[in-house]
Point group: C2
Chain length 207, copies 2
């Protein structure tokens, strides 16, 4: 089984390769890739070993082929339909974010349960009623849901998402979700990121 | 040296202990804590071993003492002054977010370089001119900066932050920052979170 940190590194290699290709670089070795990413070349080779034989001994990897290989592994060679649940601060900040579309993630719709928001247009999307979520998910063939509701509403909203058959949730609410086997949840936790920084400052002061 | 994943687990133990204390639980064993977090009790004991001897053999840990110990390690026993650079979608979404203040992180000010935003009030904060950042950081004794500017402006903004003496940056821009030794950067990358989800769906389909 491939670890999340390997998947995260594949995302980073993918971006580095895109930059190299833009600069006209045709070949790259695992040493070179390791140097750019601040890793060991053994780590780079190990990451790729899960997925088959990419490079040729001595020549290294062709940047175009390697990027394409990684795109296929991460699913970046296709388009993904994404829906946001919760049209508040975070939900609305995510609408029209160009970086998502650049990687194939298209924010198709946004839902809320607040009557004063339903039907309103926010940037390029009209807020839809959460009660219509399952029909809408089917119509737009939603693959991934982003959860941007308050913590106390998160589990109930996740249960609704799971019922629609969607298998992947990006959760911004600071509440761990119970989901069945076969559903993936990635948890954003901005407060914990700040705690990693306060830990760093505190541990430096104690030295 | 303590790894980031250990620090992340400390944040999680801290929240679990807060819940246990709310429910009136006075003692907790490493087994119990491991069960709640879905870890091994060896991992729990190893995480704490970096920081000294917390529990007593047989009794386990007192929830209040353990939470206090973790608060001191993470720096959650004090208040932190935080500034946001960039008053756009993300920057404004973060203003007045209650979860930050609940953990001692106070968003004191927000900066921008767009004349049409400077001086405007957004929720509880007035947008300040980026040119005044160093004086303002000193006045408010800023400890941590949150970077919410476009990718192409991120490195230059980070250089300004480093010059003020602030040692910790939470970066939302999808661009890795060069900062001197002794400055910590935590990188938020929402697009990569979506890629971890597309990887999950793709790898399941290939099985
Ligand atoms: N604002 C931030 O800076 C920030 C940062 C990180 C994480 N978060 C987390 O992200 C989540 C959203 O935060 P926010 O600031 O956008 O909150 P918000 O209150 O601004 O928005 C939440 C939205 O969800 C809607 N909603 C509530 N229950 C719902 C339900 N059952 N179904 C559909 N919609 C529902 C509300 O009507 C509201 O529009 C919260 O859990 C918060 O803790 C927020
Ligand atoms: N919107 C999202 O959903 C989202 C999600 C994740 C990450 N991000 C990243 O977060 C960052 C901010 O995104 P956004 O959507 O809020 O962008 P935005 O364009 O809405 O806001 C950026 C703000 O930064 C200001 N700015 C530009 N250069 C500056 C400088 N040198 N000093 C001070 N202020 C400056 C602009 O005037 C603007 O107000 C971007 O790097 C983006 O890639 C955005």
């Amino acid at each position: 089984k491939v670890s999340l940190s390997t998947v995260r590194r594949l995302s980073k290699y993918y971006r580095t390769l895109a930059d190299l290709i833009k600069d006209g670089v045709e070949y790259v070795s695992s040493d070179e890739l390791a140097r750019i990413e601040g890793l060991t070349s053994a780590q780079v080779r190990k990451d790729f070993s899960f997925f088959g034989n990419f490079g040729k001994r001595g020549l290294g990897y062709t940047t175009l082929d390697l990027k394409q290989n990684i795109a296929e592994i991460l699913g970046l060679d296709r388009q993904w339909n994404v829906a946001i649940i919760g049209a508040g601060n975070i939900g609305t900040a995510l609408i029209d974010y160009k970086e998502f579309a650049a990687h194939g993630f298209h924010l198709k719709m946004i839902f809320d349960n607040d009557p004063s928001k339903i039907g309103k247009k926010i940037k390029s999307l009209y807020v839809k009623d959460i009660e219509t979520m399952s029909e809408e998910f089917e119509k737009e063939k939603i693959d991934i849901a982003i959860l941007a509701v308050p913590a106390e509403a998160a589990q109930q909203a996740a249960d609704r998402i799971v019922k629609t058959g969607v298998k992947a949730i990006l959760n911004f609410a600071p509440r761990s979700l119970n989901v069945p086997e076969g559903t993936a949840v990635r948890q954003e936790n901005t407060a914990m990121e700040l705690e990693a920084l306060s830990y760093f400052i505190t541990s430096k002061q104690k030295q």
